[in-house]
Each structure stands twice: as structure tokens, then as C-alpha cells.
């Protein structure tokens, strides 16, 4: 049973392994190396350095060392207070550290000989004092987006397993077999698989790992087989129900909390020095993200700005205006901490139905657009019109936001092949369920599981416009957002530290925050599950506001 199309890996899995290949960089890196002149060996170590810049980086490293030796006081400050960004871009990391020193360091003796080429390097480079260029970390101008993808391997499948007994492994086998039958259209075989699996489920450890989540996947598969792919009725729960489940998911595990405080930190920094700010939240829910930001703005040196919040959410069916209710509560909080605050609700059943004029953005305001797990819903394409994602990204850009914070599931659940999607989802959600085990509070945990279960059902049993959970990994979002005219704002070591510390407060051991090319990911047992990033529109001088 062949599961993976080796062609998608660029022919790198021809199946032959040769002992002599240890000195060659893998094919993917080789291709990019010739295009971009990136040193392939350093890329394998996680660093992106142009071969043509190696010598310059080496010189800068020497200067940095000299500076560190000469001013130990600065060194300890460098160690504790400095915010570091994007360590993969070695050249800019070294430069940013160099700029932290109060005086340009005295230059050591020249780099005499390049051991590789045996050429003598011109020593002028050393003795010429380079201009001291302090960098504004917030808006580091960054190399082209094509460099972003140097180190990420597309078509990556991350699997974390725990010790499983045999029947657990059999269950996985059968799930894969069933999914493969579904992909082939052999529904009768798929159905008998389902029956076998139901039987096996009673004998498997359903406390953790694959066993725990298998039941949900079996349900989703049977939904798909018996109700067809439009049968996303599990998603037809009322908005109210969804909000309850969301709230319990928020409480039971740190993913949403991580999303909120990472986005808030970035928004807070972006709003620094601005007096009129406007946050557009793509999915207000209970407004859980905003009290913390309001309080942080209240406490900022120089006083809080005027804060406007526009919350987008589904219309309430029963005549209630739930958006307005949330807005009122937030307004009360803002009043209690002396932050001038205005709220506006925009009711829309789908994000693509929102038009920029509805947000009433004032040209004098600094805008932050906040999207927590919303953008992927726009990826279902309708071949008759512009894809919704492009439309939405385009009007976001037209608002010229100071920052756009994006948090998305770090998963490849939008692949065209059903089996690939199924496999990825199986591993993603079993890891997520595993992490939920650490939560012992009920009913948080049970309802959180239902929340996740709905996602699973959507990924597995729906297609077309019904399938909204179209998660894509960070590497794809980078390409997409860069292509739409956005450039990354890097999340630095301060955001990283905050996330790490809050995790130890809130959650069990096993969660890990990682830095990935200027973005932060939160995962369980070395598997990233959610990714947070920040963006700004690339200015092209033609920023326009909606009429």
C-alpha cells in the first residue's frame, strides 16, 4: 500500500540510500542553494547565510566577540534585556547584537587567509570603521520572502507516538485502510472496515494517544461514508453552542491563550506611540482576548490611547445582539481602567461577506487586524469568483494596518488527496488529544474534546464549501501572505519568554514553544500544533482607504 507520492518530494525518496551521500546536501537544499547562493551545510544546521556573505558574517562575529570581551557590562545587558529576533538569519542577528554596544568595537587584526581558497583577503575591510547603524527591531527590513522558505521542508509529516499496545497499532492500520478505501471509492470494503474497527475499539486503551482519538475518526469516516460529503451537520451547531465549546477549549488547554497573549504582545508593541488605535477582530466570540490588551494599554507609559474595537461574528438567531453584549462588557472594563473605548459589532455569517466599509476605519487611526484561526476558512475556492482569501487579504491590505496578527493550526489539512489529509489529521489530533490529558478539570476537558471532535469531523467528512477547516502550515501561509503584499514582523525573544513562562504557570509539562523564522509555535512533545505570526502591509505608496 503506497501512501505517499514520492514525486512530491522532488524525487528524493527513490528508495536507495547510499553511504557516500553524506557529504552532499539534500536535493531540496541544493536546488535552493544554486538559486539563492545559500550555504547548504549551514542550512542543514538551521542557519541561512549566503555563501557570498560568509566572510562578512565571520568578520562581524569577530567584532562581536571583541565587543563582548571589551565591555562585560554590555554583555550582561545583552544577555538579559536585549530582545533577539529571527536567529536563523545569522547575519542580521549578529548585526543587531553589534548595534547594541554603546561604542563601535575596535577592530581586531585582519582576516589573513581564507583556508578554503588560500586567498588573501583585503584587509581594508577591517580597518574601515563601519557606520554604527542602530536597528529598530520592530520594523527590521527583511530579505525577500523566498528566503523564508529556505529551511522549511514542504511535505513534512511529524509524528509523535507513545508506547502503544498491539491493538492500538492494528487500529491505526485499519483506519488507514478504511481511509484508503474511501479515497478509492470502495465503500463496501470501507463499511466492513468500519465494523471491524468498532469492534476493536472496545479492546483498545482509549485513555491516551491514538486510541483516544480513534473513535472520533471512526465516527467521521462513517459520517462521510453514510451521509456523504455535504453532511457537515455536526457543524450546524448554533453559534451559541460553538461559543460554549470554544470557551471550554480555551480553558482546558493553552492553545488559545497562547494565541491571545502572543498576538496581544505584538499588537501592544505595534501601537507604541500611537494615540488612536483600532483593533479589528475577525472572530469576537466572548471577547476573551481583549481584557488583557485593554489592561496593558491602560498601564502603558504615557497613558492609554483611544481604543476602538470592531468585533466580527455570526449573527444571533434569536433577536439577541450578542456582539453588542460582549462590547458592552468590554466597555465597562475599559471604563474601570480609564481607557477611552468604543465598540462596533459587525455581524456576518462568513468572513468573506464582510466589506471594508463596514469597519469604518478612520484614516488617522492605527489599525491592527487580528485573525485567530479564521483565515483558513477562506481557502475553499469557488472557481466562479475570486478566491475569498485573495479578496479578504486585499482589503486588509487596503486598510494599511500597522499590524496583522495571524494564528493558525500548524497542520497540512488542506491537501487535495483524502488519504494524505486523513493521515495528517490522525497524527495532529492524536497529539492534541494527548496534550489534553494533562487537563483534569471537568467539564472543560469533555467539552474541549467535543470542540476538537467537530474540527476532525469537518476535516474528514466534508468537502467543498462545507469543509471550512482547511488548515495549512506556516510555510504555506508565508508564501501566501508574502505574495499578497505583506511582510513579516518578527516575534522576538521577549514574546517567546512570555509564552514559555505563561505555559509553566498554566499548563502541564510537555508543551513547548519554538521560534520558527520570526514566528512562534506552540506544540506538544516537540510537535508544533499552533503557529502565531505578525505581518505588515508592504507599502507601495498607493495605500487607499475605503470610501
Amino acid at each position: 500500500m503506497v501512501l505517499y507520492d514520492s514525486a512530491t518530494l522532488g524525487g528524493s525518496c527513490s528508495g536507495s540510500s547510499s553511504s557516500s551521500s553524506s557529504s552532499k546536501p539534500p536535493p531540496l537544499q541544493q536546488r535552493q542553494q544554486t538559486q539563492q547562493d545559500i550555504d547548504g551545510l549551514l542550512a542543514g544546521a538551521g542557519y541561512r547565510v549566503r555563501s557570498s556573505e560568509l566572510r562578512k558574517v565571520a568578520q562581524r562575529l569577530e567584532r562581536l566577540e571583541t565587543a563582548m570581551v571589551n565591555s562585560p557590562a554590555d554583555l550582561s545587558q545583552l544577555a538579559s534585556d536585549t530582545i533577539h529576533y529571527n536567529p536563523s538569519d545569522l547575519a542580521s542577528w549578529v548585526d543587531s547584537l553589534l548595534s547594541e554596544f554603546t561604542q563601535p568595537p575596535t577592530c581586531p587584526s585582519e582576516f589573513i587567509m581564507d583556508p578554503e581558497t588560500n586567498q588573501t583577503v583585503v584587509s581594508d575591510a577591517w580597518t574601515t570603521a563601519e557606520p554604527h547603524m542602530p536597528q529598530v527591531h520592530q520594523n527590521i527590513s527583511y530579505q525577500q520572502q523566498s528566503l523564508n522558505n529556505q529551511l522549511t521542508v514542504d511535505n513534512q509529516l511529524t509524528v509523535v507516538t507513545a508506547m502503544e499496545e498491539d491493538s492500538g497499532i492494528r487500529l491505526v492500520h485499519m483506519l488507514m485502510t478504511c481511509a484508503e478505501c474511501v479515497q478509492r471509492g470502495d465503500f463496501s470494503l470501507a463499511t466492513s472496515c468500519l465494523e471491524d474497527m468498532q469492534g476493536l475499539l472496545t479492546r483498545v486503551n482509549t485513555v491516551c494517544g491514538i486510541g483516544k482519538v480513534a473513535g472520533h475518526f471512526i465516527d467521521a469516516l462513517s459520517r462521510r461514508i453514510f451521509q456523504g460529503i455535504g453532511g457537515g451537520s455536526i457543524n450546524g451547531g448554533s453559534a451559541y453552542e460553538n461559543e460554549i465549546l470554544y470557551h471550554h477549549f480555551y480553558e482546558a488547554c493553552p492553545y488559545l491563550k497562547f494565541a491571545h497573549f502572543t498576538a496581544n504582545q505584538a499588537i501592544l508593541e505595534a501601537f507604541d506611540g500611537h494615540d488612536c488605535v483600532h483593533v479589528v477582530d475577525f472572530n469576537l466570540m466572548h471577547g476573551l482576548q481583549w481584557p488583557a490588551l485593554i489592561q496593558a494599554l491602560a498601564l502603558r507609559p504615557g497613558g492609554p490611547p483611544l481604543l476602538r474595537l470592531t468585533g466580527i461574528g455570526p449573527p444571533s438567531p434569536d433577536g439577541r445582539d450578542s456582539l453588542r453584549e460582549i462590547g458592552l462588557r468590554l466597555a465597562e472594563l475599559a471604563r474601570s481602567v480609564n481607557v477611552r473605548f468604543a465598540f462596533r459589532g459587525v455581524a456576518a455569517s462568513r468572513l468573506e461577506d464582510v466589506k471594508p466599509w463596514m469597519l469604518q476605519v478612520n484614516p488617522k487611526e492605527s489599525v491592527a487586524v487580528n485573525s485567530i484561526m479564521q483565515l483558513h476558512r477562506l481557502l475553499g475556492s469557488d472557481l466562479n469568483r475570486n478566491s475569498p482569501i485573495e479578496t479578504v487579504l486585499s482589503w486588509i491590505r487596503s486598510l494599511n494596518p500597522k499590524i496583522m496578527t495571524v494564528v493558525e493550526q500548524e497542520a497540512n489539512h488542506n491537501q487535495p488527496g483524502f488519504l494524505d489529509r486523513f493521515t495528517e489529521a490522525l497524527h495532529y489530533y492524536s497529539t492534541m488529544f494527548d496534550s489534553l490529558e494533562a487537563c483534569t478539570v471537568q467539564p472543560n476537558k469533555a467539552l474541549a474534546e467535543i470542540y476538537i471532535q467537530r474540527e476532525i469531523a469537518n476535516v474528514v467528512s466534508c468537502e467543498g464549501s462545507a469543509r471550512v477547516e482547511r488548515h495549512e502550515p506556516l510555510s504555506k501561509w508565508r508564501t501566501r501572505l508574502s505574495g499578497a503584499g505583506f511582510r513579516p514582523l518578527h516575534l522576538g525573544s521577549n514574546a517567546y519568554k512570555q509564552a514559555s513562562m505563561l505555559l509553566t504557570l498554566f499548563s502541564a509539562e510537555g508543551y513547548s514553544v519554538e521560534e520558527n523564522d520570526g514566528c512562534l509555535t506552540l506544540g506538544w512533545h516537540s510537535r508544533p500544533l499552533i503557529a502565531a505570526s505578525a505581518w505588515q502591509a508592504v507599502s507601495d505608496g498607493t495605500a487607499d482607504f475605503p470610501a
Binding site: G15, S19, M68, H84, P87, S109, V160, T161, S526
Partner: protein, 373 residues
């Protein structure tokens, strides 16, 4: 700071390829930021700066990997690397732990370096190194994400290594077809080499057979200041001061460097005479300031009648094996491959092919004569 330090910087640059120099200097400077004078460690910044890569169950250059939680209690993860085989050219996602099929499959339990404080099993440099080991030795590699100092002192790292050894030894799917046993090697660089030694020690009385130890620039030390430490202090990326810091961070509080964890054949050490200790391959870099301790370790093994092969790489610095851009790298990988495969049945032809591997052009007739002559 005088002329001599500048001269040393130049010497250093001349013995390593440029990209290796950049990599190791980057580590050196970053690590300077992480070690605090009071003995604490800036773990958040360390994890932020460390370049990590996820496991990948899809084949890349004939190797796939996945992470396994070996011990829930300590959150002990290991990354397993497996080679694609002729019978199984594409890994089946439902059967990552499918039994190995060859007559003999070496299983290398690898302990990454980092002086007990830095790096992880999913650090990019070690992920890359382990993948190379798989291709080189046709082995399964199990890279252990052991707990680190100073948050977790001795003996946590050894405990985790021991847990991993027991786990590997009890996996039916890692048993070689020939004898239904797991063919285990312990390997590690820097602190990982130290861990390999101590885990092998623990294995002795337990009945778990370790076929060999591979120690790359293993981290050992002692109270005394040896000649190499004095001569090479600060010359090739490493200072005595940082070495001292790491030992203080790992060893129990109040202990000195003659503690047997640091100095296994020192005043508090134990002789291995008469003990069934695995054969060892010890690689020592000639420009590593702790080489006197590493050479003393080799002597200690020899004196106890243990089988040990020393590979002394004269012009090599620490970390030379991280990037395959030097001759030292190929010599070492060659030796590792021979060390691991010498326990399996090999035809003369296979042995020849092993040697030919890294070479670009070869005089076959000449080689044959060497083998048969």
C-alpha cells in the same frame, strides 16, 4: 587583550573551513550570553536561539524520523531515525515501528552534545548528524532528549540514558533477524560521549549487551589543570572557564571535578579491570583543550584490558563533525562505519564498497591487492 589573542584568532580561522568557523563561533558567542556568572542558565533565550527541526515521517534522502515518548513521567522523548530499505522503500505511516528486516541491524542510541546544558534531540545540527549516521551505518538511530543541567543535575542525564537503553533493548521491532536480539551501540559527542560511557557502565551488571561505544570528543575533566588545558585555553573556541561552568552546573553542588562522573578513572573513579565493558571508539580532536582528559580516559580503558581504538585528529577542533566540510569528517565517518559493521557478516566485496564510499576515484586493482595481499 593583546597581540597574542589576535594571533590566536587567526590561527583558529586557518584550521577550519569558513562555514564551520562561522557555525562554531556563532555557538560560542550565543552560549556566552546564556551562562550567567551565578551559575544559572538563561533557558528561555537558549531555547529561542536553538534551531530546531521537526521529525519527518516522509523519506528525505533515504531516512525518515518520528518522535516517541519513552517515559511519560519525565516527558522523555526520543527521535527515531530509520533507513528506507529495499523491502520497504516507502515508510508506511501506520507502521513506523515495523520490525527491522535485515539479518543484522545496528541500533545506535545517540546522546547529543552541548556540555549537558545546551541543545536537544530536535536541534538541527543533531538531526542532521543522526541522519548521516543512519545512512553511513545502515542503522536505526535513537536520539535521546535527556534532561539538561543546571535544572537537572547529575545523575538525571545518565538516568534518562539508562531508561532509553532499557526501552530500546525491549523493542521487539528492533531485534535483528539473525539472533532476535537488539544490536545496541551507544554513541555521543561532548557531554553525549560522557553519557554513553556512564550508561554502558550501568549496563554491565544488568545483562543488557552493548556492542560498542562511540565517543566523539567526549566531555571529561578533573581538578588538576592539564598541559593541554593550559596550552589551548581560549585558543580554539573553548575556554577553561566555560568548561568549569558546565561542570559546576552538572555535578552535584559542592562536588569538584574529580567526581567520577567527570573523571571516571581519577582518584574517585573505578577500575574496569575484569569487567565486560563494550569495545570503544574514541575520537579526540587535537585542538580540543580537554584532550589530555580524553587521552587519559583511553589509557584508563587500555590499562583495564578493554578494547579501545583511539582516533586522534591532529588539526581538528571541537565540533568538526557537525559539518562534513573537512577531511577529518570523512576519516571519522569511515571509522564509525567500520566499527559498527564489523559485528555483522560482511563479504569482502561489501567491505571494499564501504571503503570506496567516500572516495571519488579509486584504483580497484590496487584495493583488491591490499585486501588479499
Amino acid at each position: 587583550m593583546g597581540r597574542s589573542k589576535e594571533v590566536n584568532l587567526n590561527e583558529c580561522k586557518m584550521v577550519v573551513p569558513l562555514n564551520t568557523w562561522v557555525l562554531i563561533s556563532n555557538f560560542k558567542l550565543a552560549y556566552n550570553l546564556l551562562r550567567r556568572p551565578d551559575g544559572t542558565f538563561n533557558r528561555h533565550l537558549a531555547e529561542f536561539l536553538d534551531r530546531k527541526v521537526p521529525a519527518n515521517a516522509n523519506l528525505v534522502d533515504g531516512v525518515f524520523s518520528f518522535d516517541v515518548l519513552i517515559d511519560r513521567g519525565t516527558s522523555l522523548l526520543s527521535r527515531i531515525y530509520r533507513p528506507a530499505t529495499a523491502e520497504e522503500p516507502q515508510p508506511n505511516i501506520a507502521e513506523l515501528e515495523k520490525p527491522v528486516t535485515a539479518e543484522v541491524v545496528p541500533v545506535i542510541i545517540f546522546f547529543h552534545g552541548g556540555s549537558f546544558a545546551h541543545s536537544s534531540a530536535n536541534s538541527a545540527i543533531y538531526d542532521t548528524l543522526c541522519r548521516r549516521l543512519v545512512r553511513l551505518c545502515k542503522a536505526v538511530v535513537v536520539s535521546v532528549n535527556y534532561r539538561r543541567a543546571p535544572e537537572n543535575r547529575y545523575p538525571c542525564a545518565y538516568d534518562d540514558g539508562w531508561t532509553a537503553l532499557k526501552w530500546v533493548n525491549s523493542r521487539p521491532w528492533l531485534q535483528s533477524q539473525k539472533d532476535s536480539k537488539v544490536h545496541i551501540y551507544l554513541a555521543g559527542d561532548s557531554s553525549g560521549g560522557n553519557i554513553a560511557h556512564h550508561v554502558a557502565l550501568r549496563a554491565i551488571e544488568s545483562g543488557i549487551d552493548v556492542l560498542g561505544n562511540i565517543l566523539l570528543n567526549p566531555m571529561f575533566g578533573g581538578q588538576e589543570r592539564t598541559e593541554s588545558e593550559k596550552r589551548l585555553d581560549g585558543k580554539y573556541f573553548v575556554t577553561l572557564r566555560d568548561r568549569d561552568w558546565y561542570w559546576r552546573a552538572y555535578l552535584p553542588e559542592g562536588e569538584d571535578r574529580d567526581h567520577p562522573a567527570c573523571n571516571p578513572f581519577g582518584p574517585n573513579g573505578r577500575s574496569l579491570e575484569g569487567i565486560k565493558f563494550p569495545k570503544s571508539l574514541v575520537v579526540v580532536a587535537g585542538l580540543d583543550l580537554i584532550q589530555d582528559w580524553q587521552l587519559a580516559y583511553v589509557e584508563g580503558l587500555k590499562k583495564a584490558g578493554q578494547e579501545v581504538k583511539l582516533l586522534y585528529m591532529e588539526q581538528a577542533t571541537i565540533g568538526f563533525y557537525l559539518l562534513p566540510s573537512s577531511n577529518h569528517f570523512h576519516t571519522v565517518t569511515d571509522e564509525i562505519s567500520k566499527f559498527v559493521s564489523s559485528d555483522s557478516i560482511k563479504t569482502i566485496g561489501e567491505r571494499i564498497m564501504q571503503c570506496i564510499g567516500p572516495l571519488l576515484c579509486v584504483d580497484y586493482v590496487c584495493l583488491f591487492k591490499c585486501f588479499l595481499g
